[in-house]
Symmetry: C2
Subunit: 108 residues, 2 copies
DNA sequence: GAGATGCGCTACAATATCGGTAGCAATCGG
DNA sequence: CCGATTGCTACCGATATTGTAGCGCATCTC
């Protein structure tokens, strides 16, 4: 079952697994929103534009299977691995800042 | 129309736009596959597990609007911005390698 | 102990998105 | 003209996502 998290590619290369999972709706956003502090299910929902509980729960299950997110008494939080992935998202944020300043608004 | 590429969030923060677009099926994969050399539409299709032309074309249109990908006589290629984003994907690749070695296979 | 609140989560139907197949117009080389 | 390749669209069935309602549980407060 866990292996079926790989939607498309069959190579099994880690990057493919990752690109696949991250390419699902709200996955990146969830990791982003959890980067600073743990959040409850409903807080997460609120921060992610009121994503449906169905989708959110699905994504959270996947992320827990991949050991990027865990769920304890405080709510949902990034694991050690999730945090290091979150760091990459911070880089992405900086990149997005530069990109937005230089690319004409009409293109975005 | 171009602004409508933002699916969920209404903040307009660059990172949100980016997380939104990258979180669509095949977007990350397309950027990944183009990181080394330009590819024709059909080559891209082949490398992306034979993604349907419908989806591929949609993603490519979006990426062109965002000026991350361009289309010339050689085929599809990353723009300057696309390339710098591709660099981030290389970091992600390295991260995925470490992650895969340390996280039990059953979780992936 | 009876609300009232917040929690994670599920059921179900509607909708949006994606996939698979076929095939077209344009271009190029021979 | 012929065949091969290009980018791409039309069509339709399959899958993923959304929106809404609400359940069972725990925790407070009175």
């Amino acid at each position: 079952m866990a292996a079926s998290t790989t939607r498309g590619s069959t190579t099994g290369r880690p990057i493919m697994v990752l690109l696949d999972v991250l390419g699902r709706r709200w996955t990146l956003r969830v990791l982003w929103e959890l980067r600073e502090a743990p959040l409850t299910f409903r807080e997460l929902q609120a921060r992610c534009d009121q994503v449906s509980p169905t989708s959110l729960n699905k994504r959270l299950k996947e992320l827990r299977e991949l050991q990027l997110v865990r769920h304890d008494e405080r709510g949902y939080a990034l694991t050690r691995w999730g945090e290091s992935l979150g760091t990459q998202l911070l880089d992405l944020d900086r990149w997005a800042g530069r990109w937005a300043r230089r690319v004409p608004h009409s293109a975005r």
